[in-house]
């Protein structure tokens, strides 16, 4: 038998060392931490915040054990959960509402491990506890709202131009307007084409007009609805204070929300599932009222709200409790440009809204009006423009002192309070923290005892080669854990099952090799030759059988969802690591043991 070439040894040793480094963090466990991030682009977490916080924490006996700052979020480690909880409350009070202060866990290994990105595996919800929601956007509602908007636009335009119309019928994805005669119809068609070019209108052949939402428009409406709802969900999740929330679009009209570590699931459901409303209220800018309010005495008909449009992000604004207009009267809000080319938001109101708006603006020239987004009984001012003149006709433009991005945000927020498509929760998975811990221990014990049983049997059965096989199996486990940690793949209970199964299946390669060597010996081959041809013959079989298993694994990966995906990732990785360890590693060990030596008898 030839000596194994040295580059193969180098590969094996390197792989094992690197795997050890990346697998180690999993055994260190985690320490409680508090994570701080900003909700608003205007007030970032920076090194100043960090220094100030540290000083005040130390003064209050809440000195953090360590901190990690990645430019956006700041994580502070604490000794125990009690200090962590107190620190969270303290920091929240210190920083105010514009920061998300959440509980989290951080790897407790030495810092240099985190520096080279050697972090523990990311645990799935079933192992760490938390909530998973799948929300579906009610597209029929979104379409209906669009059609309702069209209907009111058409009616208003026809009325303004004194064209008489009959019934307006809103259907599933089209609407029809009826007219007395063909002349009026033609007149209406011409007028509407001119005034409302966005709406596709046709003569329906029955003396009426028909507006149909085209496939492309439908796609646009869907995309906008998903985008808007994701934004709303982000805002709400921020309020929940979750350390690592995941909010993702899934498919065409679904949004997945995962909140690891959330305990109060009823509240989470409540906050995510509620609907936001938009209210237009008048601002009280009277200096004495404002000063009093800021000092703490707000009169009962007013309230002090956060102004999110303010540049420093935290200024308060005093607003009347009386609601002039609600989001129901707003038919659209879009970012656009004013006549000077500055960024603006264009708001369109329905008939009732337009009338009220005209009156309100007429009475309050020179004052400010606030657009308040009320989410879960908590209002925030989206924007508070000054009224320059009376505005009639239902077309409102807010402009000045904003950039294009801000105009986009404002428009989105206004829409989210008025015409967002409703979402339904179609899937929920809640796992309590105790069940998560149980699952980890059950999974761990399954792997442990299965491994022990296989090890005992194989070592008795194949002796020296049995020991080699088990070393390979252990290396396989190490590689698999390291690979999962490096990829930061999410480990779930089915994932642990896949680790167990990968080990149970990986032993096959070793058995194939060992059986083949025995067979060669039985045919009176010399030990060296037996090993050599045993490996050569077994390899083709190992390769073929692993490829077929991999095909099944890839199918799981491609079509699986949820728990199946977690299983599939580990399954596929396990097949790859087992090929490496069974072929390369076991061969290497055998070469070290037997190369260039006379062998009287092989213990197999």
């Amino acid at each position: 038998m030839h000596k194994y070439s040295s580059w193969k040894y180098i590969i094996i040793v390197m792989a094992v060392i690197i795997s050890l480094i990346y697998a180690i963090p999993n055994f260190y466990g985690e320490v409680p931490a508090v994570q701080i991030s900003s909700t608003h682009a205007n007030n970032r977490v920076d090194t100043n915040t960090l220094a100030a916080l540290e000083a005040s924490l130390t003064n209050n006996d809440l000195t953090p054990l360590g901190e990690v700052f990645d430019g956006k979020t700041l994580k502070l480690k604490f000794a125990d959960t009690d200090t962590q909880l107190r620190a969270r409350d303290f920091i929240q009070a210190q920083l105010g509402e514009n920061y998300v202060v959440a509980l989290n866990l951080m790897p407790s290994g030495p810092a240099w491990l985190s520096k080279i990105n050697a972090n523990p595996m990311f645990l799935g919800l079933d192992l760490r506890g938390g909530v998973h929601f799948l929300l579906e956007i009610d597209m029929n509602q979104a379409l209906k709202k669009t059609l309702d908007k069209y209907a009111s636009d058409i009616k208003r335009d026809l009325r303004n131009n004194q064209i008489r119309y009959g019934n307006v019928i809103v259907g599933q994805n089209s609407l029809t307007v009826q007219f007395r005669d063909a002349d009026t119809l033609q007149q209406a068609l011409n007028q509407l084409h001119k005034d409302l070019p966005d709406i596709q209108l046709n003569d329906d052949g029955n003396g009426g007009l028909q507006a149909i939402i085209s496939e492309m428009q439908m796609q646009k409406i869907k995309e906008a609805a998903v985008k808007q709802n994701i934004l709303i969900l982000h805002n709400r999740v921020n309020e929940l204070g979750v350390a690592e929330p995941i909010i993702q679009q899934q498919g065409n009209e679904r949004i997945m929300v995962e909140l690891p570590g959330v305990q109060d699931t009823a509240r989470a459901k409540d906050i995510l599932g509620r609907t936001a409303t938009l209210e237009v209220r008048m601002v009280d800018d009277d200096p004495t009222d404002v000063a009093n309010a800021l000092a703490g005495s707000v009169s009962s008909d007013k309230e002090l709200l956060v102004d999110t449009s303010a540049k420093n992000g935290s200024s308060k604004i005093l607003v009347n409790r009386d609601v002039e207009l609600t989001g129901d009267n707003i038919t659209d809000a879009q970012p656009g440009f004013d006549e000077n080319g500055g960024a603006a938001v264009n708001i369109r109101l329905d008939g009732v809204g337009a009338a009220i708006f005209k009156q309100v603006t007429q009475e309050n020239i020179g004052k400010r009006m606030a657009m308040v987004l009320v989410d879960n009984n908590k209002g925030q001012v989206v924007t508070a423009p000054v009224i320059r003149s009376e505005i009639g006709g239902g077309q409102v433009q807010i402009s000045g002192a904003m950039n294009v991005e801000e105009a986009n945000d404002v428009a989105l927020l206004l829409r989210s309070g008025s015409l967002s498509a409703p979402m339904n929760m179609i899937e929920e998975r809640t796992v309590g923290p105790s069940l998560g811990k149980e699952n980890i221990s059950k999974g761990f014990h399954s792997v442990l005892w299965g491994f022990v049983a296989i090890a005992v049997f194989i070592i008795i059965y194949y002796q020296v080669f049995g020991v080699i096989s088990i070393i390979c199996l252990a290396v396989n486990l190490l590689l698999l854990i390291a690979a999962l940690s490096m990829l930061q793949a999410t480990l779930t209970l089915p994932g642990i099952a896949a680790i167990a199964l990968a080990l149970g299946m990986a032993i096959d390669s070793n058995v194939l090799i060992n059986e083949r060597i025995r067979e060669e010996l039985r045919n009176n081959k010399k030990p060296h030759i037996a090993i050599e041809s045993g490996y050569t013959h077994a390899f083709a079989t190992i390769f073929d059988s692993n490829v077929t298993t991999l095909i099944a694994g890839l199918a799981l990966l491609a079509f699986g969802s949820g728990p199946v995906k977690g299983f599939a990732v580990v399954h596929c990785l396990g097949i790859l690591t087992s090929m490496f360890s069974a072929v390369l590693v076991s061969r290497g060990i055998v070469a070290v043991l037997y190369a260039n030596r006379r062998i009287k008898k092989l213990y197999i």
């Binding site: 699952n439 059950k442 194989i458 149970g504 058995v511 194939l512 073929d544 077929t548 199918a555």
Partner: protein, 309 residues
């Protein structure tokens, strides 16, 4: 130590008729139960709500049922999970029940039925989701079949590919039949197990096929059934040892893995047992039946042009 030191080849192929008949029979029985009883699909497929609540002491299921009945939740199934302290409640999606808030409502109703209640887990699946899962599951099985057929057809020959797929689909149907017969819950993890078994049993067939190919190439004499018998006998030891080891791991999951891995391990166990049987005693007779011959696997040597008379 060595369990299998078989001197002469076992004439597996001469049992071909009997084993194929047995397979056919189990297959038909499995299909029968699958059709007559149907699969006991989990909430993931059917939609509905599944909750697990634990108390620090054993609680009366009847009290909980009564409480839910009184509040109009009479279609709830209440069962113990693992121990009398753990209660599992299942609710179908029906009319007004089709909402996420139902789990909060149930928990509020029953949390006073025992000391220290704890809501361990909730799973709510709307009716929109299940359909996708079934379609995706079938797609996955189809994908695996096509992939394996293609690979084996290229590496071996089409007869081998079809024999392997038939033998292994037969395993899948038998697992499904067992789940239908015992009314075991068929969940997404069980589906994962079935697909893993599909890959794993094909792997088993491949080991035998590999040996058959080797025998075809290296041995001069012997009929096709003889060579197949020899291949099966030669790989016999490996088959038993490997599957024994895999089964040890699976049993470990069955005993230590708790309820979530229970059916997963069970599906694997059935799959492993029938996997051995089918790749040895179904795939190989099929191969003979398809008329596999030495020429199918050995590249024909180029015929030298010779002068003919």
């Amino acid at each position: 130590m060595e369990f299998f030191r078989i001197k002469t080849d076992i004439p597996f192929m001469s049992y071909g008729k009997i084993t194929t008949a047995i397979s056919l029979l189990t297959f038909i029985v499995a299909v029968f139960f699958l059709l007559s009883r149907g699969l006991n699909l989990s909430v993931e497929f059917t939609g509905g709500t599944l909750m697990e609540v634990s108390y620090s002491q054993a609680v009366s299921l009847n009290d909980i049922r009564a409480k839910l009945n009184d509040n109009g939740l009479d279609m709830a199934t209440v069962q113990n999970l693992d121990s009398p302290k753990n209660v599992m409640i299942r609710l179908p999606n029906r009319g007004h029940l089709n909402s996420v808030t139902i789990s909060n409502q149930v928990y509020n109703l029953i949390q006073n039925e025992g000391p220290n209640p704890q809501l361990k887990s909730v799973e709510f699946i709307g009716p929109e989701v299940g359909q996708d899962l079934i379609v995706n599951g079938l797609m996955a099985i189809l994908f695996v079949c096509i992939g394996i057929l293609g690979y084996l057809a290229i590496r071996f020959e089409w007869r081998f590919a079809i024999a392997a797929i038939l033998a292994n689909m037969h395993d899948v149907v038998i697992i499904l039949g067992c789940f239908a017969f015992f009314r075991l819950e068929f969940s997404l993890t069980v589906l994962a197990a079935i697909l893993a078994v599909l890959g794993y049993s094909v792997n088993e067939s491949v080991v035998v096929f590999d040996r058959i190919r080797e025998n075809f190439r290296n041995t001069r004499g012997g009929t096709v059934p003889e060579l197949i018998n020899n291949a099966i006998t030669a790989t016999m030891s490996r088959t038993i040892i490997t599957h024994g080891c895999t089964e040890m791991m699976v049993l470990s999951m069955l005993f230590f893995g708790g309820p979530s891995l229970h059916n997963f391990a069970l599906a694997l166990t059935i799959g492993i047992l029938f996997g051995i049987y089918s790749s040895v005693l179904v795939a190989s007779p099929l191969l003979v039946w398809f008329g596999v011959s030495r020429a199918n696997l050995i590249k024909k040597p180029k015929q030298r042009e010779e002068a003919v008379v």
